[in-house]
Symmetry: C2
Subunit: 150 residues, 2 copies
DNA sequence: CACCAATCAACAACGGTTGCAGATGAGCAA
DNA sequence: TTGCTCATCTGCAACCGTTGTTGATTGGTG
């Protein structure tokens, strides 16, 4: 994603005001790879700006999404995730804790066979790899051992 | 998905009662390819059984999902879709109207490069092709013509 | 430096889904 | 068939993530 300074320019260029709240959100997002929820961003920004409202966070995240500077993801983890990485990429999701990591893989090799297209125009292809992250795996192993011992 | 008769057996085998409500839901789902929401199933069942509650529909759909007889899909269309097709397959989604159609394509050709796995174990790969269905395309074309003429 | 639209925070509303409590009825035994 | 008992059903309220609304506040332009 763009730097906070670049986003500041972009907002100004669009006639949007650059408030301290928005700047705080820019800097929280910058370099983030954890695919945060709105709530998570709210908590993070609240640390340095306790008076910010969750509503403002949603507003700014939606503005950024509308400008294409972040992507909103729905990965079935309950709430939307916001992805500051706007390069073409895919996701690896832990079905247990919801952790999401970026994956660069070539999805153009999967094609819809013509007869199955039903006349659709396909804009893009999303690939979601689902499984377990190492942390959840080891937690499960402990659980299993306990069960066996019990 | 299994036939209503087979599902009846399955429920009985599991000690679950087979109520008229459940049977009505089985027969609505059987052969359905539209990936209905709970609300849609509720409306359909209500036609023949006007007193059924939405709560019961959710309950039965969740039971079926827990038994693996339907899959719950979250495709970012607002509400969960229930898919009676439990074969391995993927989906083509219209970003405009939310229509979903099944796609049989080999996704095993997309792999996560080892270094990007972060220690995850990958259970399965979901591919979502996004675009426009023919109906929405033609509706848009009309809109565009109007704009141009206006 | 003043003005006014844009933004803010707090609150209520919203849609989808689930928890709850009392009424109902499926399945079993006699 | 009849009656018993517990799972299920229904209707309602609560819940969660998100968005609309409102008056108060604030930033940027002239």
């Amino acid at each position: 994603m763009k730097t906070p300074a670049e986003l500041t320019e972009l907002f100004r260029a669009r006639g949007l005001k650059v408030t301290p709240q928005r700047q705080a959100i820019f800097s929280v997002l910058h370099g983030d790879t954890a695919h945060p929820t709105a709530e998570w961003v709210y908590d993070a920004v609240s640390k340095s700006m306790p008076t910010i409202s969750l509503r403002t966070v949603y507003q700014t995240l939606n503005d950024l999404a509308a400008m294409g500077e972040v992507h909103a993801l729905d990965l079935g983890t309950g709430s939307s995730r916001f992805d500051p990485n706007v390069d073409v990429h895919h996701h690896l999701v832990c079905d247990e804790c919801g952790r999401v990591v970026d994956v660069y893989a070539d999805a153009s090799v999967v094609r819809v066979p013509g007869p199955q297209k039903h006349g659709f125009t396909i804009d893009h292809t999303e690939v979601v790899f689902r499984g377990r992250c190492p942390e959840c795996k080891s937690r499960n192993d402990q659980g299993k051992r306990k069960e066996v011992n019990a």
